[in-house]
Subunit: 356 residues, 2 copies
């Protein structure tokens, strides 16, 4: 019987509640598919700061490295907001990306037909939106050298945005590979009219394009892309971009759907290893109330099954179970038109398992 | 009789057509107000590349420096798209910002009630949107040192994002000053959880806030702001942010209104000097056809009257004339629901002057 080791990092806020439902779904998938998932828990973020004195204990990195894939809940909360940089939950997130070499962040923004009303955009503009932002996750201005010093006009602060050709090439290839399996349209986003790193980016994209004659490559400037996402989001199939631009555009794209509680993401290393997490945050305001939406985390399980474990059919089954539950009209508070009819986290998880 | 010197830089594409209408409006304002505007034309962008071999001739800089304010049309077009950096139209734009010290870019995004349908967002989400993005325009990653060299893994490219405390302070003050005259709510946007320059930015914003106890300051991370602009744009009064984030967010905010052909912008230096231009580009596809919308350029004239020349009433009169024309149902093609009824550039300009 095949056994997979999954590192489970629930994190803070609603993290533990939603993760519980996701793990139950995963366990059921194991029973149905005749494989076992050995889930081992680790700490990251605020809980790790409190327990281990660091947002990313060495133990957690080791656990993750020994696993076949990682499931993450969410990190952060007001308790740690005033901490110095090295004691902040998100430093754990940046740290694990770097430690595990998770250079490719895959952020689908899909408008599910039964949730069209949740969007602030007109139905005819968003219905049918199905795009993926591929964001470079371990380079650029996030990880370049930082400086702070006193100058003649007060303090000076510097951030270096640096990209190596090989770093750009591998993420561009991820973009092309994903586009190839979809509508074969890749938009590479940069600011080549201003940034040197963007000029290198564009040059590499052009070069790599020769290996993908079946995929149509076009370039958009980041400001223009931010406009186009609002004007006509349906024009996009796959967007590939650098770390900082991807941070902004993937969140903007997510919000177009209006249901951030439904969106999952993958952060992939070379090979099949990856970390999977919902796009939404730790929502400290509703933590512990049992009302958080577990669907994005459950859909993260589906992404993991597909992208790290090669279990395409099981992934599709989980996704279909989620859509069926939604189509039957069940909603958690965040996506309910009528909040008085909203169901809780555990109930939603159970409904998905019933469908499965 | 008071005389103002205005440097007029029509630029490329539809630039000359729309500028012609704006200058006619300005001339009429002069007659009505009993002042003269001496408009002197200069070249910038593609036309300057063709004529002078540089996108920003020294002559144009001198002309602008001697003027009380600058009106700019638009620059760029496919003809110059493949040129090397120093021979590209937008290099002229970046150059004039730096040469004239235009550090504060003011980008209003206002949803005019008669154009609500043009937005891709639901009417209840966008009607009443009235926000201003204040973007730092002469610092940050745009003007930091750039490097390109060969490394062990192919080429390497670097862009330095650098901010001095004094640079941050002056733009933050512009944000507070503008908010003070409006709803007194300022959102400072940064990425303080990752960038050193953002941590300096936030620190300065906090310090300067002490001088504006009547204005409510809050902070948003740039990814979160990109989401909030989609989710609930009405929450914003004034946003202040650094150059690169401002480039993206101001364009995103502009597109929320759906009528980019209506939006104007100011780029201000210390004191009252400023450069005024429409937000839209040079639209080479419709250049010379006489169908471009001149209203954003005419509204740029209004901004100039108010911000550089202290002619508040004349500014309001121009703006009201524009709104009246729109309310009477007149539309150029870009904002027309029924394109067959669209009017041309000259006709639209004439209608505004008739109202005035
Ligand atoms: C928390 C923060 C450092 C992080 C990022 O900017 O990458 C987050 O916004 C994300 O997108 O995962
Ligand atoms: C043309 C380009 C260099 C410019 C910028 O990025 O500043 C433009 O996008 C703008 O916003 O005025």
């Amino acid at each position: 019987k095949k056994n997979y080791r999954i590192a489970v990092l629930p994190g803070d806020g609603i993290g533990p509640e939603i993760m519980q439902e996701a793990v139950k779904v995963l366990t059921l998938v194991g029973e149905l598919e005749g494989v076992t998932f050995t889930c081992e828990e680790g700490r990251i973020g605020g809980i790790a700061i409190d327990t281990d004195g660091t947002p990313l204990p060495e133990e957690t990195v080791t656990l993750a490295k020994q696993a076949d894939a990682v499931l993450l809940g969410a990190v952060g909360g007001p308790k740690w907001d005033q901490n110095p940089g090295h004691l902040r939950p998100e430093t754990g997130l940046l740290g694990i990306r770097k430690a595990l070499g998770l250079f490719a962040n895959i952020r689908p923004a899909t408008m599910h037909s039964s949730l069209v009303d949740a969007s602030t955009l007109k139905p005819e503009v968003v219905s049918g939106v199905d795009l993926i932002v591929v964001r470079e996750l371990t380079g650029g201005i996030y990880f370049g050298e930082k400086k702070r010093y006193d100058g003649p006009n007060g303090e000076v602060a510097e951030d270096q945005c640096i990209y190596h050709e090989a770093e750009v090439e591998r993420i561009i290839r991820v973009g092309f590979d994903i586009a190839r399996k979809r509508q074969k349209r890749l938009v590479s986003v940069d600011k080549a009219n201003v940034l040197e790193s963007s000029r290198l980016w564009r040059k590499v994209a052009e070069r790599v394009a020769a290996d993908y004659p079946d995929v149509e490559l076009s370039h958009q400037l980041v400001d223009s892309c931010a406009m186009q996402l609002v004007r006509e989001p349906k024009q996009f199939d796959v967007i590939v971009t650098e770390n900082m631009f991807g941070d902004i555009l993937s969140d903007q794209a997510a919000m177009l759907t209006g249901s951030i509680g439904m969106l999952s993401s993958a952060s992939l290393a070379a090979g099949s290893f990856g970390l999977y997490e919902p796009v939404h945050g730790s929502a400290p305001d509703i933590a512990g109330k049992g009302i958080a939406n577990p669907l994005a985390t459950i859909l993260s399980v589906a992404m993991m099954l597909r992208l790290s474990l090669g279990m395409d059919e099981a992934a599709a089954a989980v996704e279909n179970a989620v859509w069926s539950v939604l189509e039957a009209g069940h909603r958690t508070g965040d996506i309910a038109a009528d909040r008085s009819k909203a169901i809780g986290t555990i109930e939603m998880g159970q409904l998905v398992r019933d469908e499965l």
